[in-house]
Symmetry: C2
Subunit: 292 residues, 2 copies
DNA sequence: GTTCCGCATGAATCGATAG
DNA sequence: ACTATCGATTCATGCGGAA
């Protein structure tokens, strides 16, 4: 069995038309937010956002398998002291397209952007909207139950005692209890609230979301050899995680530099896998990275 | 100065008309959810929810001061495997009424109801929608500040492991009032994600939300002698907390038993205050509970 | 090898200033 | 007047260098 990673360079609205219908198991993406990332993506005005996104979601509906899931990471911007409504309008319009709005997960950003204003606090959460084509869809709940604890233990092992205390005492983080549970090897039951920090430390390229985010959804909604799609690939977090987890992946981005960067990184993973193959099974799947 | 607690028995849609316009500083309420609490409120079908609520929100808009705030605790129900859209539609309609949708806080329910379903995880969060009449409104941010990392770092070093956990859970909840008084420096502002456990120590009645919830918003949006309104009083959590915090309060409920129960509880607080007056200042405000 | 401290860096938001 | 840009504000994170 071979694991592929396809990278498509271009506007996803067009490139998505090249994909076969009912072929994708999971879509995880974080489109540019309204008026955000102007330098790279041009920025979409809040008033135009729904109109801009609907042709894309229409294609996504076409390529997704009937049992597949679409996870949309998004958050509305504040405009003149008020939360914009384009996300809600988008949900209502996507339902008209045929999408089922199954669930809304909350991503609690433990390290949100700082700042102080007279009329609001720091924004520490984002929406993770789950859409489906049918009421029945593939979901492998056991896969996130067990690894959650392992993940926590593995992470905490590398932390110093001060770091643990720091973690516990973070403002509003509310994780003192959770961490103590992890240390006691208690089971961490997942809910629809995810607590993850953003990765803001990478010098070369900062990812929109931390690797744990796509990892969690890939575990939950796909199996090995399934196909994961990210139409707004960016720094490629989704693809890299999917590749590591032996899922086939498709990424689309309009920025050539991003495509090239992700290709390089995927190839680095490739080399690592080949060199260290002693640690892996003999019938390790071949991996193949394509860019077109 | 006298602190009043008024309880109005009846349908809030009608009773609200008795209140003076521009007279209320803060509205905190948790209306009956769609199709929930059928036995007491009759249950409102999700399709009728917006239509049912709009006349009430219109009255709320009338009675709220221009500088006041309306906090609406609500969450959409799952209908046939899909999240209902009535909350989003309600926000859009309330904006048409003249409300400004300033912010959406997330209430993360740390100990949400356990359970397992094939298609979804436990629902561990609810919306706390903030609406205002104007872009400028009263907000006392310092009142809800929370101790921050460096302090805990230095302080917690000398505590036992259990103490750390206990203290941290207070800090993490974002409402460690004792701790924040104990320490007057190194405090930080909270974010728009609140971590609270639901109260499960209910004897006769189940409180819609924990006392910390109205407490936090009353601290944030009102001062002593201000007026707090809960048009769906229920077990009266909002009124009791407001009364304790020396805010005037108005509660409305259609169930006579609830009104009577809240009245009794408020009078108990009253007696406690009178009996233990040695501990209080001489000019402790008189408190007065009315039911009509 | 630990533990501790300093530092840069964010899907932010407001208000003032500039065209 | 109305829109675009800029500075000020603020704090969790994890890396690297020092004790």
């Amino acid at each position: 069995m071979e694991i592929n990673a396809d990278i498509l360079l271009g506007d996803c609205k067009e490139k998505l038309k090249l994909l076969e219908e009912n072929s994708v198991d999971l879509i995880v993406t974080s489109p540019p937010y309204a008026d955000q990332r102007k330098s790279t993506y041009g920025g979409i005005h809040p008033d135009d956002y729904v109109e801009w996104f609907l042709p894309i979601s229409e294609q996504l509906l076409r390529v997704l398998k009937p049992t597949g899931t679409f996870i949309l990471n998004i958050k509305e911007k504040v405009v003149e002291g008020e939360r914009s409504t384009y996300v809600m309008e988008l949900i209502l319009e996507m339902r008209k397209q045929g999408w089922i709005w199954t669930e809304e997960f909350i991503w609690h950003k433990k390290n949100c952007y700082p700042g102080k204003w007279p009329n609001r606090f720091r924004d520490a959460w984002e929406r993770l909207l789950q859409f489906n084509k049918n009421r029945k869809f593939s979901m492998y709940q056991e896969e996130v139950m067990v690894p959650m604890g392992d993940w926590a233990n593995a992470r905490l092992k590398n932390l110093s005692e001060t770091d643990k205390i720091r973690d516990n005492s973070k403002v509003g983080s509310g994780f003192g209890k959770n961490i103590s549970n992890w240390l006691n090897r208690d089971k961490a039951y997942p809910s629809n609230v995810l607590h993850l920090a953003t990765e803001c430390n990478n010098k070369n390229h900062s990812a929109a979301f931390p690797e744990e985010l796509p990892e969690w959804f890939i575990k939950l909604f796909t199996r090995e050899n399934d196909i994961v799609l990210d139409p707004f690939m960016g720094s490629g977090t989704t693809l890299i995680v999917a590749n590591r987890m032996k899922r086939n992946s498709i990424g689309i981005d309009i920025i050539p530099d991003y495509c090239e960067m992700v290709r390089e990184q995927l190839n680095t993973v490739e080399l690592y896998l080949l060199e260290g193959k002693g640690k892996y099974e003999k019938n390790e799947p071949k991996k193949c990275v394509n860019i077109r």
